[in-house]
Symmetry: C2
């Protein structure tokens, strides 16, 4: 009774639901504070105070007909201009309101740009490990997802394989830095090398290859790490941003696309993306939240809280003998499974009430993802359990 | 540089933009209060007070991590249960939380259900005149839109033509009552006859035909008119609702789908729709607004204000000699153009600073749509101008 394309999603979804329900069962049985749930990327740091203040002030003092009303499908002009100016100040870019389209979070923004540029059968390249939902987004427009194998040493993109896999049919490359699920940040050198390959291939094929930068974690960078702003390195870049993590507003579905003037045929792409935003059903990003964002444009997330979690979990796990790359950003740890089948490892974790996501959910089996956007207490309390888990797999403690 | 499917949309969109820009030009030239802009369906009645109160109270008193956080993709369970109970009280239905999926407005809800059930090449039937965007939604999933000709006497659906046009390939029928752009309400007899045809055709073809009820105007009914709740008449009904008009929140993008237990293979359709909501990029309906809706579930729109507008405009126009059906709901008047080419009539209207939308934008040329969700003053001040416009077309005043 459902569309054929939806059938595999429904089948796969029941596996996710089973995991979710098992987590709930454990929490009921042992108490929520005795279950170490590292499975969800839901920010644990509350939205900064300015969000509450802006909501209350706007509700009390703005004309509701405007505050909750329709605006240009791309979003309120003043909101877009405010964000553009903030980006220009921070990154030395040169955007204005017209380069921004407010979207229902980054997921919707990615759908909007893919609908805008992708023809059926065209290829979109992603670097494993990657957020598996990218595959669903590309299939929504009958595109073909092309995976680049993971470099499990550095988790930086394998640019040699990228160069080999770009064809005349490549329409876009999606990058995500700071990165889910590994926490790595793509360095400026990596970005420059990536841009050079794309430039070369565009010339070779006489094509346009869009670089789509999915960056909900931009603000979550540690130890002073810089996150290069990609439009400055490659003209045909589209940025998809979300306030889900930076302002802890994931449920509000608020973000934007940046489509720079430098992008080939920019005006047409902007017009088409505005239409795609409308006809995919979003119509526009939620109006009150747009205005809230504009008031909080320079608010900062409490990165220190996540950083404290990062160090505690990273140090705790490596001390037990687990191997993982030290994350530079986002709020995930991508840990090597001590056995080839990481699902077996995830199962073993449940005995200690530890919930982890298998790496095969990110096209990178043999690893597991831990989301450390939890309370510091959860992390500290989980460490003795991780120690037992390590012992079960005969890992050796660091001396 | 854009997808081929997007090209016709971009071309068509510039026509809409031209109209919009011309409206702005007139307002700049003559002053906004001297331009009679009947082109937009943006509610003029502000959101009821309970919306503001709920926003402020929730922002001040709820845990922001929950208030702005992720929830089940279908929406907060308590919100869905509250709405289900409200529907049950009002319409004698028997829904619970699981039958509701909160969506980013009705437009997103329609996309979600079409993605859920529609295979490429399958047919979706609509009754002209209709909201032209339905065509875009159906094309998003490579479906085929099938139009039923307008019955310009009553603007009720032509059920004979419907019966002839249903094929083995018909997957869904979209209805919209109270109706944009005519304001008619489909009577219970009409709905019963429609349901009987669908039942018969389902048997004939051994198929499932979904009746999709797009009902953002449900609450806007005048003179005590009843709007039948369609799930009670036909099992395979899916309801798409929006708070855009009933609570004057069009910019907030908040609505829901109802998928009843009676619907064929209901559980699978519900599961698939939840996934479609996620992978189309909405992920979930905006979280704060979900909670606001639950608090305002029994709030009522100020229908009296629209009713006053309706009578003033309807009586004023018919007195000048214009012909139109008296709307029973929504906030539109669908007026017969005094010349066959209604675009010529719209152009003539601009000389009197009257902005109207040509009926060809609703697949019904020869008519124009006037949205009377404007101030009462605008309507009163426009009437002398309509009189001049009528004179230009030699219409005879009612004696």
């Amino acid at each position: 009774m459902i569309a054929e394309k939806m059938i595999p999603f429904v089948q796969n979804n029941s596996a996710i639901r089973t995991m979710f329900e098992e987590g709930n069962r454990l929490k009921k049985q042992y108490g929520a504070d005795k279950v170490y749930d590292f499975s969800l990327g839901n920010p644990s740091v509350p939205a900064p105070d300015c969000v509450r203040e802006a909501i209350v002030d706007l509700a009390n003092n703005e004309d509701p007909v405007i505050l909750h009303g329709y605006m240009n499908n791309a979003g309120f002009e003043d909101v877009r201009e405010t964000i553009a100016q903030s980006l220009n100040r921070r990154f030395g870019t040169d955007f204005s309101a017209k380069n921004l389209i407010m979207t229902v979070g980054a997921a919707s923004g990615l759908n909007v740009i893919l609908k805008t540029v992708l023809n059926p059968g065209e290829e979109v390249i992603v670097f494993a490990p990657y957020f598996l939902e990218y595959g669903a987004y590309v299939k929504n427009y009958d595109g073909k997802l092309v995976e680049i194998s993971p470099d499990t040493e550095t988790f930086q993109p394998d640019l040699e394989e990228l160069e080999r896999k770009i064809t005349a049919n490549t329409r876009a490359v999606i990058v995500n830095s700071p990165h889910n699920p590994t926490g790595v940040i793509y360095s400026e050198d990596t970005i420059k090398a990536l841009a050079a390959i794309l430039e070369k291939k565009q010339k070779e094929y006489g094509s346009v290859i869009y670089l789509i930068s999915d960056e909900p974690y931009r603000e979550l960078a540690y130890d002073g790490a810089e996150v290069p702003y990609l439009t400055k390195y490659y003209k045909n870049t589209v940025v998809g941003y979300s306030y889900s993590k930076s302002l802890s507003l994931p449920g509000e579905r608020i973000g934007y696309l940046v489509i720079p003037d430098d992008l080939e045929d920019s005006e047409t792409v902007i017009a088409a993306a505005g239409i795609a935003n409308r006809i995919l059903g979003s119509v526009n990003a939620p109006s009150l939240m747009q205005k809230v964002i504009a008031r909080c444009v320079d608010a900062e997330v409490d990165v220190a809280a996540y950083d404290k979690n990062r160090l505690a979990l990273y140090n705790g796990l490596t001390a037990c003998g687990f191997q993982c790359i030290k994350p530079q950003g986002a709020f995930y740890l991508f840990v090597k499974s001590p056995v080839a089948d990481e699902k077996e490892f995830c199962e073993a974790g449940k005995k200690y009430n530890i919930l982890m996501v298998p790496g095969s959910s990110f096209a990178c089996p043999g690893y597991v993802r831990l989301a450390y956007c939890v309370s510091y207490e959860t992390i500290i309390n989980s460490l003795p359990e991780f120690k037992k888990l390590a012992a079960e797999f005969s890992l050796t403690e660091e001396s």
